[in-house]
């Protein structure tokens, strides 16, 4: 069964450094999402991506964040200058079509900013 994959599983970085989190969504899916979950808290929406552009973003998704789908398979989240409060689990999700609203999640990347 196709699944969403994410790399790396764990990323440790120093404050102020740039990080890129990578995701490979399910191949025939059209909508892509990033969410984050700070330890012990609920899952929060960051951004949605459709038709090669951002379709919606949350207040969390400020100028330090960007997303790309560089080659038709990968979907990346970049944080330009990480802060301590960016430490969280980051989940990528994909959705098949306009009519199907269920999202399938990757295993997550645990980002630790020191």
């Amino acid at each position: 069964e196709p699944e969403v994959t994410q790399t790396p599983s764990h990323q440790v970085t120093q404050m102020g450094q740039e990080v890129i989190l990578r995701c490979v969504p399910i191949s025939n899916h059209l909508y892509f999402y990033w969410y984050r979950q700070i330890l012990g808290q609920k899952v929060e929406f960051l951004v949605s991506f459709y038709n090669n552009e951002i379709s919606e973003k949350s207040e969390i998704f400020d100028d330090q964040f960007s997303v790309e789908r560089p080659d038709g398979s990968n979907f990346t989240l970049k944080i330009r200058s990480t802060k301590l409060e960016d430490s969280a689990m980051y989940f990528c999700a994909s959705r098949r079509s306009t009519e199907a609203y269920e999202q399938y999640f990757g295993p997550g990347t645990r980002l630790t900013v020191t």
């Binding site: 899952v43 949605s48 269920e102 997550g108």
Partner: protein, 117 residues
């Protein structure tokens, strides 16, 4: 704005028993979808069940079923014949559909379910 509330931070149940997890939500949209996701200790988010708001019939998926009360904006999850592998955090989530919505999920705070042998 849409909100999802899970008022039970933790629940426990004996193996083979039945447990119900509660969820209430609010949205101004008439067309939306509701979901339950399971997050085991591995932290992978696994889709358990979905419900379309326009359907009156409650969704079922093997041992999992929902009680969808649209007027009350309530969406509870019933797990029958609980198994040790059901131990996880359970999240209720809502996605508005249609119009300019791109289907982002709004999650509740989660309920930690522990199944005891």
């Amino acid at each position: 704005a849409q909100t999802v509330t899970q008022s039970q931070p933790e629940m426990s149940v004996q193996e083979a028993e039945t447990v119900t997890l509660s969820c209430t939500y609010d949205t101004s949209e008439n067309n939306y979808y509701l979901f339950w996701y399971k997050q085991p200790p591995s932290r992978q988010m696994i889709l358990v069940i979905r419900q379309e708001a326009y359907k009156q019939q409650n969704a079922t998926e093997n041992r999992f079923s929902v009680n969808f009360q649209k007027a009350a904006k309530s969406f509870s999850l019933k797990i029958s014949d609980s198994q040790l592998g059901d131990t996880a955090m359970y999240f209720c989530a809502l996605a508005n559909a249609g119009g300019t919505s791109y289907g982002k999920l709004t999650f509740g705070q989660g309920t930690i379910l522990t199944v005891h042998p």
